[in-house]
Amino acid sequence: MTLISAQLSPLTAQMLAVRDARDRAAFAALFDHFAPRLKGFIMRSGTGSGQAEEIVQDVMLTVWRKADQFDPQKAQVAAWVYQIAKNRQIDVLRKENRPLPEELKSDAQDSGRTDTDAGQILAVEQEALQLKEAISKLKPDQREMIEKAYLGELTHQEIKAQTGLPLGTIKSRIRLGLERLRHDLKDVR
């Protein structure tokens, strides 16, 4: 890991330090990055400042406690934190337990992560950068729709009705994601 950590984004490197070394300084850095954004993200859907901070606290504690579930070969730190925040919002605001898919056991988890594939991690980061760039190039109204959809402001009927949503951008990413999963499974079987 040390050889490639210089090439990883700071967030990924910090998250790996939290996961593998329980590094509190790295966690504090992640907190400084995510907590203020999470608060804005959560308040946007009408949650008051106090309750939003309670949710931020739960999300950040989950980042610390469930760090072993973070797999940079599959997801970027922000995508992982997004999902934790969504789960928590549903648990707190709707008082429901969100049904979650089974975890996919990857080779990294089974073999104690002795063979973490650095190239794969960098590929995930690369993809996310490309996706971000593609989204930033969209027309303002399309960008706004993407934001609304992933903030949770649109029902699935409304998302379906948004013919202007650039699903092609998403699809290209899906193909790469599928390759990654195949890679994982090949090693399991």
């Binding site: 606290q57 998403i170 994601g177």
Partner: protein, 211 residues
Amino acid sequence: MTDITHHTPDALLAAYAAGTLPQPFALVVAAHISLCLKCRAAFEAHQAIGGIVLEGFDAVEISPDLKTNVLSLLDAPDQESDVYARTGVYPGPVMQALKGKPPRWRRLGGGVKQNILSADESGSVRLLYIPPGQAVPDHTHGGLELTLVLQGSFSDETGRFDVGDLEVADEDLDHTPIADYGAPCICLAATDAPLKFNSVLPRVLQPLFRI
């Protein structure tokens, strides 16, 4: 894993990732993702977009206590929530809805059985057990209906649905799914229409049986 040919549409996956899908549908989508690599990859792509949206948010000032609080709680014991593993034909999220127990089937007539997992104003989700040659009950649509095959298969006017396949039906689809010959068909079915009166039972009994 068999070849799954009927997948979760993108709008449903995006809504599931964004947390706007009502609970009954979210359970079916979570169960399908548990069985389907293609939709799992698509789900992860939607999470990636969600992450980019989160990253794009301007930082909002947080109270100075928040960080101190969180850092002081890092060593506090964690309340572990139960994780239910796949059991037989039932994926993890279905086992969670069953609270780890086997289904408790109630007879509906004609050898058809059901186990309602949840039912409220957001819709309902249930397990259905359909013997070969029997119709999947109550396919009169008021709204959206998702049906995921867990065992056996069924066919209707739109095609054949095997283990892992997800049928998405809305009010525009008038169809009659019939369980194929072979093993009895077990499905997970969610609808946002109110649970409907079934002709076998008088209306007064409906609340009792929750058809």
